[in-house]
């Protein structure tokens, strides 16, 4: 191994010196000269007419600079923030897309809807003045549950969306065929459940600084975003109507995203718009309670699912009907999550020949629901994997054996074609048996059942739960997502700029907010160019530096953004070889490139990467007709999604006296294709597991019937803490992706997608002696205790 062989190694992260010493630079750390502070007046009611807004007292307060209300915004003609995805009704009617105003002037439609923006000289002055803004509301009845919101007598969120439906949608085999297949089954397992609403809870609250500079008539937005370029595009072209080349968007260090920082939010547009009105910079920083009320939530499905088996336990059919709560407004990816990221995954790892899914997207008087880590795929996996374990118990079959029996046979996607599902996807490559085999081996399955039986005799209730999942990530082939309603292609761009001294700057359209791109991407570049990692810098998150980018979500950075980098490196090496050949007086075909130099094959004549770079920029002695410079950009549009898969196994112990569930062990065997940095991939898996386990055991955004979000703080919303979790036991199999140059599949969401049903299945297994067949998440002590003793 040469010293530049970086792929597959675990160098420590480049980022960590600044983060461990307090030198990270997050948006709220940025201070601009003459900066003001904004605080938003937000509706305390879920549904209310706005009768009047009186700002006179607040405007007279010390330190107040300006106040803008919904009426002010109405006069500007700005309609609001758009959805990025269009899912039309089955009958062809267009998706209902009511405006999401920057500040509301007619009605508030969820608790937290923005009513006025107060700008002052300090954070405290802005908050004080916001409290002095008097808003008169006419409170109206609200609806928060998606299945209830479609009833004829339910309050309407938007007058032009009858029955609160934004769209309905179906996918798979014709429903008649699926109905017939289910009717012919020897056994049908039914699951009716709510996949509860969650708050993503990145630890850094959202923050935005808007600055209009009269000098060059340019705007700068510093924001906590996972995709600054998309924010710029949406804000310029679709919200404010300002010229894109006069707007710079910077997403500096961002303290976690998990989906919640993908979307273009009203506060970003407001600080930019208002900064021009007052001609000063404006900073807005979310409080945690504001984050609960205004960061897009995740999940919130009400679903009925039926899985049919023949007498031998072969899955024959799956029928799914889901009401997906979209919240009060369509967020950027809102319509895509319950449809194309959920319905398309219902094949799972199984050969089910008939599948039909119907999804109704529903408005309610709640915060918008959008992509949260996994986004649709956790919902699909929960449905399938709960059904599998439940069916195994009902049919008195072993849950692992039932899965082995129904797995899709292995295929590599190269010599064998990809697997075409009943729900519109073609899996790239897969070998599903080994992840479950390895999981069973790690957990010691053969011994576990005896241990469980012995423990039960002593009044100790252990349970084991399985989940064998697949996901689609690396989103996405632009033509495919375009056909599915995406209003943008989902390629990625990268520029590799070789400096004259042979140092390399890489400008990536992906954005790192914890994923460690500055390390992983540098490994790829160092490996491919055969130069030290310390000679490489990864630049991201600044629309002024990076030409364009679609950002980071859907586990896409390495598979799509990394592939764009590889494409640019190939161009650098191709041109470099021409320069090297000229300098070495050899033919390009006679050169080979390794360890940072071109060598004439079979000789000791060589020239280093740095010398070629210098020649490219100081072209005194240079190939005729070749342009100077060594700097290439590429746009990579993937040929397909990537399809990571894996097996997660949970072992729990339920204290039947208190109902408390203790997670004793968690085993995760994941296949994310090739791995660039195993340390970072393990870290991504760990974090995903904690969030998936969090959904199973602790987390739930709770609305009361009036639409009040009753647990909008960390005093009330239960986040997984250090003493709630065990050490994770992880391993991998490697089935390379056949269609991207690195063979990688993506690891960001896998942990969160697979883990939730494993935990719930384990609790159900533990509670089997009590005849309990299902419980709604999260598995709180109260719920478990009531189920046992109720």
């Amino acid at each position: 191994m040469s010293n530049t062989n970086y792929i597959g190694q675990s160098p420590k992260r480049v980022e960590d010196k600044r983060f461990t010493t307090g030198n990270g630079r997050y948006t709220d750390d940025i201070v601009l000269p003459n900066m003001t502070f904004a605080h938003f007046v937000r509706s305390p009611h879920a549904h209310a007419k706005i009768v009047s807004v009186d700002t006179s007292e607040a405007l007279a307060m010390k330190g107040v600079v300006a106040i803008f209300t919904g009426q002010d915004m109405k006069k500007t003609g700005i309609v609001g923030v758009p959805a990025g995805w269009q899912v039309d009704f089955i009958n062809g009617d267009r998706m209902k897309e009511p405006p999401h105003a920057l500040l509301v002037w007619d009605k508030a439609r969820h608790v937290g809807d923005g009513v006025a923006m107060v700008i002052a000289e300090s954070r405290a002055a802005a908050r004080d003045a916001a409290e002095a803004v008097v808003v008169e509301y006419d409170v109206l009845p609200a609806v928060v549950n998606a299945a209830k919101a479609v009833h004829d007598n339910a309050p309407l969120v938007h007058d032009d969306a009858p029955n609160n439906k934004a769209f309905d949608w179906t996918l798979g085999n014709p429903i008649g065929e699926v109905d017939a297949a289910i009717a012919a089954c020897a056994h049908v397992t039914t699951l009716e459940f709510t996949n509860q609403r969650l708050s993503p809870n990145a630890m850094e609250p959202r923050c935005a600084i808007g600055n209009y500079d009269q000098y060059n008539e340019k705007y700068t937005l510093y924001t906590t975003s996972q995709n600054p370029h998309l924010t710029r595009l949406l804000m310029c072209a679709f919200v404010l109507g300002i010229p894109e080349h006069k707007v710079r968007v910077v997403a500096p260090d961002v303290g976690g995203g998990f989906g919640s920082k993908i979307f273009h939010y009203i506060e970003e547009a407001m600080v930019i718009w208002a900064s021009k009105q007052i001609n000063r910079p404006i900073k807005w920083t979310s409080t945690r309670t504001e984050a609960f009320l205004t960061d897009a939530h995740g999940r919130d499905h009400v679903t009925k699912a039926e899985m049919g088996f023949d007498k031998d336990g072969n899955v024959k059919a799956l029928r799914v009907n889901t009401f997906a709560n979209l919240g009060a407004y369509l967020s950027t990816f809102g319509p895509a999550v319950p449809t194309y990221l959920h319905g398309t995954l219902l094949q799972g790892l199984y050969t089910t020949p008939k599948i039909n899914v119907k999804v109704t997207g529903v408005f309610t008087h709640t915060t918008a629901v959008d992509a949260y880590r996994g986004a649709g795929r956790p919902e699909a996996t929960y449905l399938l994997e709960r059904l599998m374990d439940k069916a195994a118990l009902e049919m008195n079959r072993d849950p692992a054996a039932l899965r082995f029996q129904n797995f899709i046979p292995p295929f590599d996607g190269v010599t064998q074609p990809g697997y075409v599902t009943q729900v519109a996807l073609q899996y790239d490559s897969g070998n599903y048996g080994p992840v479950l085999e390895r999981g069973l081996e790690m957990v010691g399955y053969e011994n576990f059942r005896a241990e469980q039986a012995a423990a039960r005799k002593k009044g100790k209730y252990l349970g084991i739960g399985f989940s064998t999942y697949i996901e689609a990530c690396g989103i996405a082939p632009s033509a495919v997502v375009g056909a599915l309603g995406a209003r943008a292609g989902l390629y990625e761009s990268a520029q590799v700029r070789v400096q004259p001294t042979g140092k390399v700057s890489v400008y990536s359209g992906s954005h790192s907010h914890g994923q460690g791109h500055e390390t992983t991407f540098a490994q790829v570049v160092a490996d491919k160019l055969g130069i030290p990692m310390s000679d490489i810098e990864i630049v991201h998150g600044d629309s002024e530096a990076v030409a364009f980018g679609m950002g980071t979500y859907g586990s896409r950075s390495l598979a799509v953004g990394g592939s764009a980098i590889v494409k640019s490196i190939e161009k650098v090496l191709e041109k470099g070889a021409k320069i090297a050949a000229f300098k070495l007086e050899a033919a390009v075909e006679d050169l080979e490139y390794a360890n940072g130099k071109w060598t004439v094959k079979g000789t000791n004549k060589s020239i280093g990467f740095g010398d070629v770079a210098l020649t490219a920029y100081v072209p005194h002695h240079y190939p005729a007709g070749l342009e100077p410079g060594l700097d290439f950009s590429s746009f990579y549009d993937p040929a397909n999604f990537t399809y990571p898969f894996g097996c997660h196994i949970a072992i729990v112990e339920v204290d039947i006296e208190t109902g408390k569930v203790k997670l004793n062990r968690f085993i995760a065997v994941d296949d994310v294709g090739n791995v660039i940095n195993p340390m970072i991939v393990d870290g991504q898996i760990h974090g995903g597991l904690a969030q998936g386990i969090g959904q199973a055991m602790f987390e739930e955004v709770l609305y009361d019937d009036d639409g009040q979000l009753v647990n909008a703080s960390y005093m009330d919303y239960t986040m997984p803490r250090a003493d709630d979790l065990p050490m994770f036991e992880t391993d991998r199999t490697v089935t390379p992706c056949p269609h991207n140059p690195l063979g990688v599949k993506g690891a960001g969401e896998a942990g969160c997608i697979g883990s939730t049903p494993a935990v719930v299945n384990a609790v159900m297994d533990a509670l089997h002696p009590f005849g309990i067949k299902d419980l709604v998440m999260p598995m709180t002590p109260e719920r478990v205790w009531r189920a046992i003793h109720g």
Binding site: K12, T21, G22, A202, Y714, R721
Partner: protein, 160 residues
């Protein structure tokens, strides 16, 4: 009305005026530009704002600036010398951080733990970090980072 305070911050004397309602965390971040101390919640629940007050870990969003008059505060910015502190090194070596937002608080809480309990068990580490939320790591590598630091600090003690 503002009140004068005199406080040692990272061993440097600071004299300033603060509003009575001003929280320590805003004194650090907004007035003194020590932005390594973060704010993750409004309820003293997340620990991102943890600093040391007279050597003990406190959540600086729960302490009024006027309360530190005449006292000594240490923040994350004081931890490293010419090299990283062994706790910082542990977080880097064991990949105990991802987005880095909770990390300063985690490190300050860990320092408090290892001062009072130099060789903690996994259980003791988990209990000690219960007041610091991390959304990225699942805590797995944070536990290993603290164990790394404990080992290294104990070896340093033996060498002395």
């Amino acid at each position: 009305m503002k009140i004068p305070i005199k406080v040692l911050i990272n061993n440097k004397e600071v004299k300033t005026m603060v509003e009575p309602r001003q929280l320590l965390v805003f004194l650090l971040r907004d007035q003194l530009r020590l932005t390594g101390t973060h704010i993750g919640c409004d309820t003293s629940s997340c620990g991102a704002c943890t600093v040391h007050l007279d050597g003990n870990a406190v959540k600086s969003c729960t302490v009024l600036a006027v309360q530190v008059d005449g006292r000594s505060v240490h923040t994350i910015e004081s931890m490293a010398g010419s090299a990283l502190h062994p706790i910082q090194e542990g977080f880097k070596e064991e990949h105990g951080l991802q987005c880095g937002f909770c990390t300063p608080g985690m490190i300050m809480t860990t320092a408090n733990l290892l001062r009072t309990c130099p060789n903690p068990s996994e259980h003791q580490i988990r209990e000690a970090l219960e007041g610091n939320i991390c959304r990225c790591t699942g805590y797995h590598n944070i536990i290993k980072a603290v164990q790394y630091a404990a080992d290294k600090l104990q070896k340093e003690v033996k060498h002395v």
